[in-house]
Structures are given as C-alpha cells and as structure tokens.
C-alpha cells in the first residue's frame, strides 16, 4: 500500500528497539569521524590545483588529504576534536523522538568508550570532564516528524575551533556598508571569512542563514552544512550568491590554515528563515575542512542506505 505508515512486524520491532538504533547510530558516528565525504575531498583536490607548487598552502592541502586517507583506512578519528555531535532526524509519526534521542546519547557514550570520539564534554560549572562524551545538549538532537515512512538520520561532528569562529551579524552594519538586503548579507559573510583567518582550520565551509532569531539562525546555518558542496540552491538568487561568495572569499588570500593562498573557502551554503520586522540577522556557521558528516536512511523494510 503506497504511502502507508504500516510497518512489517520485523521493522515494527526495530523501530522500537533502543539497542538497534544505538548500534546504527554508532555506525553513523564511526563513518562521520573517519571518512571525509567525497564532495569535500574533491573540493580540496580542486583547491590544491590552484596553489603554487612548494607553497605552504600546497603543503597544508597535501597533509590534509594524506591524513584523510589514513583516517579512512584505519577507521580512526581524522581530527582529535571530535566536536559537538549534531543530529538531525526525520521520522514518521510511529517512531518516538524520545527513543531516537536516547539512542543518540547512548551511541555517543559508546563511541567515546571506543575512542571514535574524544572525551569531549565538560560540566561548565565545575569544569570537570564528564568522561563519557555526553552532557546536557551534547549531543544535540533535532527531531522532526515527516510524512515519509523512512527514518533519516544525519550527523555533523562540528569541532570547537571552527565553532569559535562562527559569527552573527545584526543588519544594518554601517562599518561594513551592509543594508538589509542580499548585498548586505554578502558583505557580512565576507567579513566573517576575513575575521576567521586561519583559526577555524580553513579552507572552511560557510553555512549561512538569512533571517530567523539569534537561536534559530545559527541552527539553520548549521543545517546548511549538511548540503553537499556540489549541489545547487533551489532559489536562483541564493544559488548565484553562493557561487559569487566562494569566488570572492577566495580572493581574500587567507588560504589553507591562514598560510596565505587561493583556497580560503570550499563552499558557501545559504538558507533563509522568516524574521520579525525589527530584526535582520545573518548567521554564519564556519565549518573546518574536516567536514565530518554522515547519515543513514532506514527504510520500512529495515534496509539501510548510508548517506555522506
């Protein structure tokens, strides 16, 4: 029965089984931490062709590509800062968000014990490392019900270095000549790329949100980072703006690691949210070259399709 949410008995069991979801999410984490997505590798290789032989920029990109090969072959974390695990889950009405969230947290603990993730969660008041990778909002799990029968899990491991270089602008910004329009947004995105210099482990990927409030803007900016670098924005003016921003940011000359060079950003991805008349935020989530995203699409039949 097409479009039905009725589950076959075996799947019904899987959909309610915490252990099975946990095992699946550990697999997603293992893939994210050790496998650089193919589109990111291709973009780094493309950047490498633009850099002069013998330059520090070329050396940095060669090191990055070699490191990615080792991490993949050894199924080990490509970067020691395994970041905040950010999950986005789309699920049918039959599957509990509580169960999925619990599975994600349990999987983070298990992956931490297996050294796939660093002991990366600290109690902010006491300064103590929790030791198991989990703490309030670590991992962060966004669940959304949809009208499809599959469950889609997407994960981004976002390191602290690049998170610290993310930025939010409230338009207008007179110093940058940024009004409340697309050109104003373009100006602040370029300023963010300039401000980041090499601190966020460039070449970076910029997830951008136009609109929203200070909270939703950053969440949408991060959600944009799940897009593949070679995709197209369905909104023509944003698609054009994404391409122009990549080209212009790469004219800044900051280069890989801030060593100087032509590869400053690998991609810019822009989304929009509604805003109230008083506010016009542009939120920019900087992602390091180690763009650790992975995912899984779980069909009603139980069949798993891995996503990059």
């Amino acid at each position: 029965m097409p479009g039905s949410h009725r589950l076959v008995p075996a799947m019904m069991k899987m959909m309610k089984d915490l252990e099975q979801w946990t095992t699946l999410v550990v697999d997603v984490i293992a893939r994210a931490t050790s496998q650089l997505p193919p589109d990111v590798t291709a973009a780094i290789r493309q950047g490498r062709t633009q850099e002069a032989e013998g330059s520090l920029a070329a050396m940095a990109l060669d090191s990055v590509l070699k490191n990615a090969d080792i991490a993949c072959a050894e199924k080990a974390p490509m970067c020691q800062d395994t970041g905040v695990p950010l999950f986005w889950i789309h699920h049918p009405a039959d599957v509990s968000t509580g169960l999925l969230s619990k599975a994600c947290t349990q999987a983070v603990r298990r992956a931490t014990a297996k050294n796939l993730l660093r002991e990366n969660a600290v109690d902010t008041l006491t300064g103590r490392n929790t030791g198991d990778g989990a703490a309030p909002s670590i991992p962060t799990v966004h669940c959304e019900e949809w009208d499809r029968s599959e469950v889609k899990i997407q994960l981004l491991l976002k390191g602290g270095g690049c998170e610290n270089t993310s930025a939010q602008y409230s338009l207008p910004d007179s110093k940058l000549g940024a009004d409340r329009n697309l050109d104003g947004a373009r100006r602040v995105v370029l300023d963010a790329a300039y401000q980041a210099q090499g601190k966020g482990c460039g070449p970076g990927i910029l997830g951008v949100c136009l609109g929203g409030d200070r909270g939703s803007g950053y969440v949408e900016a991060k959600y944009q980072l799940l897009r593949h670098l070679d995709d197209h924005n369905p909104i023509p003016e944003l698609d054009a703006m994404e391409r122009r921003l990549v080209d212009e940011a790469n004219q800044l000359g900051i280069g890989p690691m801030g060593f100087g060079g032509k590869t400053t950003v690998l991609g810019v991805k822009i989304g929009t949210l509604g805003r109230v008349p008083a506010s016009y935020f542009v939120s920019i989530a900087y992602l390091c070259w180690a763009a650790r995203r992975a995912g899984a699409l779980v069909a009603e039949s139980g069949e798993i399709t891995w996503l990059s």
Binding site: M59, I70, C79, Q80, V122, G161, G200, Q251, L252, A290
Partner: protein
C-alpha cells in the same frame, strides 16, 4: 627544512625564520586552556623540568589506555592557540619554554614574548590528527589527568619528525600578521570601502 632536537637552547631557536618548515624530534609536553591557567597560578615545580628548553603543544588528544597501563595517542592534531594569548608569554618566560606548537597563530603579547625570550611559534596543520599521532613514538607520563580530563591533561610525549611551519619567529616576524593585513586590503577592495 630545519630539524629541531628537543630540548634545545636559545641559539637553535634564533636560527628559525618565518615561513621555514621545521621537523621536531624529542620530548614535548601538551598543554591547553586549563593547563595554561594552572601554570600561571603558581610556579609548578613538578612540571617545570619538562617545560625547560622544550615546546608546549596546544593539543587535546584522543588517548587509548592499554591493558598494561601504558597510553597510546590515537589522534593528536593542534588546537586553536589564540585562547592562550593572555598566558603564553608569561608561561614561556617563567618556565624557560622554547616555543609552542598550535594552529591559527597568536598575537602581539606572545610575539613580544617570543622575541624577548628567544622562543618560536610553530604551526601544525589543523585537523591532521592521524598523521601527527603517528609521530608520537612514546607517551612518557601524564600530569593532572584525573583533575583536568584527557584533553586538558599535560601529556609528556616523545615525537619523531613532527612537521611544523614557523609562523612566528624570535625576531618579531609573524606570517599571521602579514596575511591578516593583505586580506584586510583585499576585503576593503571587495566591499568598496
């Protein structure tokens, strides 16, 4: 490419210039946010001998504890150095440190400290935690593991051919400042400011 054996003396550092690549071998010690704050709080006798003439690596590694009680570095790239800017120059002077390894560079206070004391800022390629972990041939010991946790503890390690780039030297040079200025000019041009 320069080769630096650690620990070292001031003259070895004064030879290094911005833009040069340097391969490090010998004993270094990790230290990041909590460690720098702690090192500034009082003179820490127990770690001082490991800092004298050596290099602090801004790194919070992934570490595996082996069944025999020893440790192995699983992933160990550099962390952002800018956060240690308030402390770095003081730590270098107080403990006789010859330099730091990190990423993203540091600012004026550190630059002056490097110049004064004869120390250097060495940039490792951020995110290359697998390649760099393979240069760690031995984990000698660890300080403050229980209290600071794995990433913030001070790990005394022996490295062999650890690759770096000199981005701030002991003569006041800074590649970060050069790139920042050039990119500021490029930004002004793009924005028509």
């Amino acid at each position: 490419m320069a080769e630096l054996k650690l620990p070292c003396d001031e003259s070895a550092i004064r030879h290094l210039r911005v833009g040069e690549t340097a391969l490090l071998s010998g004993r270094i010690i990790t230290g990041r946010d909590t460690a720098h704050h702690w090192l500034c709080g009082a003179f820490r006798e127990e770690v001082a001998p490991f800092l004298q003439g050596s290099i602090i690596y801004h790194c919070g590694p992934v570490v595996r504890k082996n069944p025999d009680g020893s440790y192995t570095f699983v992933a160990a790239g550099p962390t952002t150095s800018a956060r240690e800017e308030p402390y770095q120059a003081d730590v270098i002077e107080r403990y006789g440190v010859r330099g730091v390894i990190g990423k993203g560079g540091m600012f004026d206070k550190t630059r002056k400290g490097l110049q004064k004391c004869g120390a250097v800022y060495l940039h490792a390629v951020g995110g290359t935690a697998q390649s760099l972990a393979k240069t760690v041939v031995r984990v000698e010991r660890v300080f403050k593991l229980e209290e600071f946790g794995v990433p913030e503890a001070m790990w005394v390690i022996e490295v062999k051919d650890f690759p770096t780039v000199v981005t701030m030297d002991s003569h006041g040079g800074s590649l970060h400042e050069t790139v920042a200025q050039a990119s500021r000019t490029a930004l002004s041009k793009l924005l028509g400011l």
